[in-house]
Amino acid sequence: MTGTPTQSGPRTLYDKIFDAHIVDRQPDGTCLLYIDRHLVHEVTSPQAFEGLRMTGRKVRAPEKTIAVPDHNVPTTADRVDGIENPEGRAQVAELDKNAREFGVNYYPMNDIRQGIVHIVGPEQGWTLPGMTVVCGDSHTATHGAFGALAHGIGTSEVEHVLATQTLIQKKSKNMKVEITGSLRPGVTAKDITLAVIGKTGTAGGTGHVIEYCGQAIRELSMEGRMTVCNMAIEGGARAGLIAPDEKTFDYVKGRPHAPKGAAWEAAVTWWKTLFSDDDAQWDKVVTIRGEDIEPVVTWGTSPEDVLPIGGTVPAPEDFEGGKVEAARRSLDYMGLTPGMKLTDIKIDSVFIGSCTNGRIEDLRAAAGVLRGKHLAPGVRGMVVPGSGLVRMQAEEEGLDRVFIDAGFDWRLAGCSMCLGMNPDQLAPGERCAATSNRNFEGRMGRGGRTHLMSPVMAAAAGVAGHLVDVREVMAEAPATA
């Protein structure tokens, strides 16, 4: 059951979902696309709701709109008493007011289901295969892991979707990223997505929707697939997709907003048609052997500044064109010297969390490295579950004890340090091993230095006190209590 195809012949998964959502198409190819799920958070929505109010417009489909505060919320237990920062408090209060006034689905700050919008959506079963999902947030790409067409939009478009439940879109190009074979032990979904960006650059996917495929992708859990798709935007692509399979259906089944009974059967029947045809045409193809991917870290201030952990800090002269100056600026900001071994980079802190790596499997993986070990002297650590339910699950499994015993702070759910819009921030010059998604200048706090990596690599760095190959830390016998 698809709409009028935008082209004849074999189609990609992206083509199929796009076609199925066309409300109107202009002769020049501009389409009006129906939006199935609109996720809303407090930072990019106030001006959009204000626009509705000023024009006397309503939210067209409040039942398809889901609001949750995440960027500004403190992650300390005292947040039940309110947010201290007046501007952050005002922004969360504004979301609270707008959600109630316009009647959209809403998870307030102190609801157990509150969390990072891209973790809450899938957790509650709002995100389903074949859907169009948008949010005023670039990491909306996360939901592509379900075979949903999901991408970030600006605030004007948030207002457009609120008012009309549609978005004006032109077709993007199709890009295939195939990861063949299997990953080696110690290598994770985060390493895949960083390795892809390292290979294609932060503009490599610009103008494209990426479909990730291949054996290594199929072998990932749903949570791993979310990590991969989450960072499609760091590769320049607005959306990343993975075709749904039995793992997807198993993950979705039984969630609060997933279809049930006869609707479930009908849904699965359609979902099984959501794959790229064998002879579909691709505008760009990238292939990486899963066995070739090493645990990686970033050294600079762009997510494309990726190297295997065994590498050395590059010199500006290793690059060409405008990247030479950018690399010089990065090295200066990061306080690194060309030629030094990545494993000689000492860290001050560890951040485990974010919409990239704040799910239960991420916490399990990090705890697996930390069990019976402790943060190196002088290193501070923070674990921020992606949602209240992830936090609860972790506590049921005793993971909170593992983190606390290892010297970490165990926090409430939110975006936390990933973007420093709340009290969790790096100090100037503080160097952090982070599981988040952006190492931009100032992102985690003015002057803060971010090295992106997987949860196991971040945990291992915390134990060693410097960047390290997790496989070496895992090989050591745990300290006896």
Partner: protein
């Protein structure tokens, strides 16, 4: 939204590649619930020292470029977060056009919603215009949306491509929402069809 037709102004050279939206407007300024007033914090961490004083080395703090209305930038301008605060800050400062070899998709899209024209040109053209920009007020650039050209100080005109729908909206200052609302019947028909076929959506 203000119309964009023609613009002759000073261009600020920013050759750095991958200028991201965190650089354009850092996260601490996203706490506003308004669209206006962000211009003073445009490029905040590059423009000001930690004590709040101006960094005299930053291009927009130099006398020749304080009145810039155009930025000529390195590759992949506007990458990163979807924050529309980035174009809002540019607009509030007075920037109406950005010229680069490439833009991140979401930023590019957001510009058009705010009357800013992002212009994509080949590397040689951007290089030539960057040289003009380095001459500040002595080498103003002229952007003409109708003819889709940027004219440099020596009179060389560079033609750029733009989506016809976006051009039409920008030339006339049209609001997308109003245009889409005219298609309410088509939207309702789609919703009726989907409610039957995919009741779970």
């Amino acid at each position: 939204m203000d119309k964009f037709t023609t613009l002759t102004g000073i261009a600020a050279p920013m050759p750095l590649v991958n200028i991201d939206t965190d650089m354009i407007i850092p996260k601490q300024f996203l706490k506003t619930i308004h669209r206006s007033g962000l211009g003073k914090n445009l490029f905040d961490e590059m423009r000001y020292h930690p004590d709040g004083s101006e960094n005299p080395d930053f291009v927009l703090n130099k006398p020749a470029w304080r009145e810039s209305q155009i930025i000529v930038a390195g590759d992949n301008f506007g990458c990163g977060s979807s924050r529309e605060h980035a174009p809002w800050a540019l607009l509030d400062y007075g920037i109406r056009a950005v010229i680069s070899t490439s833009f991140a998709d979401i930023f590019y899209n957001n510009c058009f919603k705010n009357g800013i024209l992002p212009i994509m040109l080949p590397a040689e053209a951007v290089e030539a215009l960057m040289k003009d920009a380095e001459n500040g007020a002595n080498a103003r650039l002229t952007v003409d949306l109708e003819s889709q050209t940027v004219t440099g100080a020596d009179g060389t005109a560079y033609h750029f491509d733009i989506d016809p729908h976006r051009k039409h909206c920008l030339l006339n200052g049209l609001d997308d929402i109003g245009l889409t609302m005219e298609k309410a019947r088509a939207i309702a028909a789609y919703e009726t069809r989907i409610a039957q076929a995919q009741p779970w959506v």
